[in-house]
């Protein structure tokens, strides 16, 4: 059974964080601060016994949504059906209202870089992804959401923008969008794309969930500085501005803060929560007649 995750705050999106076992105690101690937790299904499938138990113990205590990192939907080989079945089982057990994965690939048979890599954005590649999205959807009893990634490089033969590519796949399959605003913000900084143009491509309502995070700047010796998706710092104000822009067209059910480093700075996460809620309230005020 799916749980409506934005009930707590009525018409406003639920705000929460991505569950990480490393800060399980802290999350439990602050559960009242969150409307929702995002669970990485791979932790339930491949995680150790303790991690699985800790996650499943949260069922019924707080609404949960489901996210994946291991599908590599963009690798040009058939999907791993056994893995899909495991995902479906976990999603059902969590009572998650949706399952999300990245529009990317991480490896090929025999090699896996454990990093999200972009695809050539061509019609032919979109068609192969569309077929796979349909396979994923046929295995799930909940909506499937695709997430935009942050990327360092692009394939030279791409025929369309990332937003056009995503939108083509979503509109053909009925898949919805997990809009990673931090990734959009980073791509804007690193590649000069216009984030507002990106947002304007998608029809109203397609964004079901949102990711926010804070990255770090890298200074490669032979290249200009790059901002990387490190999930290590507070959500930047520019990303919150983009969130407000997105909220003009979409009413996501959940907004999730991703944090994978500098866990000692707990106060930053709570501060991010407060800043997001303040922006949500502001957007709601502006939208009211």
């Amino acid at each position: 059974m799916s749980v409506a995750i934005n009930d707590r705050r009525r018409s406003l999106p639920a705000v929460g964080i991505a569950y990480r076992a490393a800060v399980d105690g802290w999350i439990r101690a602050h559960l009242d601060n969150f409307d929702v937790l995002e669970i990485t299904v791979d932790d339930c499938i491949r995680g150790d016994k303790e991690r699985r138990s800790a996650i499943f113990d949260l069922i019924g205590r707080i609404p949960l949504t489901a996210h994946g990192v291991g599908l590599s939907i963009g690798t040009d080989v058939p999907l791993d059906i056994a893995y899909l079945d495991q995902i479906a089982e976990v999603v059902e057990r969590l009572g998650a209202p949706a399952f999300s994965e990245h529009l990317a690939f991480t490896g090929v048979p025999g090699r896996d870089i454990a990093n999200l890599l972009p695809l050539p954005r061509t019609t032919a590649v979109a068609e192969t992804i569309i077929e796979k999205v349909r396979v994923v959807q046929s295995h799930l009893n909940v909506p499937f959401l695709l997430e935009n990634i942050a990327y360092f490089f692009e394939w030279p033969d791409s025929e369309m923008s990332e937003a056009e590519f995503l939108n083509m796949i979503c509109s053909e399959t009925g898949a919805q969008l997990l809009l990673d605003i931090e990734n959009l913000h980073l791509n804007a900084l690193n590649h000069g794309i216009d984030p507002n143009e990106f947002l304007a491509i998608f029809p109203s309502g397609v964004v079901q969930e949102v990711h926010l995070a804070g990255g770090a700047t890298l200074y490669p010796s032979n290249s200009r500085p790059f901002v990387a998706d490190t999930h290590s710092h507070p959500v930047p104000d520019a990303a919150l501005d983009l969130l407000q822009e997105a909220l003009r067209h979409h009413q996501p059910a959940a907004i999730i803060i991703e944090r994978d480093e500098r866990f000692d700075a707990f106060f930053e996460i709570l501060d991010d929560m407060a800043r997001i809620r303040s922006r949500l309230a502001d957007s709601a005020l502006r939208a009211s007649p």
Binding site: G70, V108, T128, F153
Partner: protein, 242 residues
């Protein structure tokens, strides 16, 4: 699917996991034709960041091993990246690759200190024991034999040529002696970390043979006194069905 995309993806992964992409940067490297048009500096950045993430996973599993490598860590990890390209993303799989790499170096006689691969194997075993999840479906369907015993699932057996236990107890400067040391690594129920037990060689061999539920064999009955069986069960090394 079309073979062309997979071929390009494979060539990209081959490049990104190569030592030249990770460490040397674009320089004068001639990119594979399939990657022409991609900024080589950005590929180097991608390769370098991905490698750093992999190294981070290794340092989590192998803190003692990497400490023993001292100033040779960077060189060793470079060689590791060269010999063992990044495989499926799991922590344990990645750790096993590193362990196998050190064993190869041991065989080639280039490992210092010579017990380093055994420390690595023990650290990997601790990670495996910690990550072990019983296959509940298999457990349910397993044949239930009365008066039978088996090695507890999740136990990792490791026979070392050196007594590396002082190292595992975080005594980095302890003297490590060459001595046959049969070890069993398991995460006791309710414990946060895996525990290491040194076994008598005969007990080690018996546990090694008890891969599945089996009636108590006469040889076992002779050796495994009630007290020994009790101790093995208490330590989480053996399961018994009466």
């Amino acid at each position: 699917m079309n073979g062309d995309l997979l071929d390009r993806q494979t060539r990209l992964l081959t490049y990104l996991t190569s030592v030249s992409a990770i460490f040397d940067g674009p320089g004068d490297i001639r990119l594979d034709d399939a990657l022409r048009g991609i900024d080589p500096r950005l590929l180097h950045l991608q390769a370098s960041i991905s490698h750093q993430k992999r190294v981070k996973k290794i340092s989590v599993i192998f803190p003692r091993t990497t400490a023993l490598l001292t100033d040779r860590v960077a060189e060793t990890l470079r060689d590791f990246a060269d010999v063992c390209p990044s495989m499926p993303a799991g922590f344990i799989e990645n750790g096993r690759q590193f362990c196998d790499f050190l064993s190869l170096r041991r065989q080639a006689g280039t490992l210092r200190p010579p017990y380093l691969h055994e420390v690595a194997a023990c650290e990997l075993a601790m990670a495996q024991a910690r990550a072990f999840v019983a296959d509940e479906k298999a457990e349910t369907s397993a044949k239930s034999l009365s008066n039978s015993k088996r090695r507890a699932p999740g136990v990792v057996l490791l026979r070392c040529v050196y007594d590396i236990q002082p190292i595992m107890e975080n005594a980095q400067n302890a003297e490590v002696v060459e001595r046959d040391t049969p070890l069993a690594i398991v995460r006791p129920i309710g414990a946060e970390h895996a525990a290491i037990f040194e076994l008598a060689p005969a007990v080690f061999n018996l546990l090694a043979s008890l891969t599945d539920w089996a009636p108590v064999a006469p040889s076992f009955a002779m050796l495994a006194s009630r007290a020994l069986t009790h101790d093995l069960v208490e330590c989480g090394l053996m399961e018994v069905r009466r």
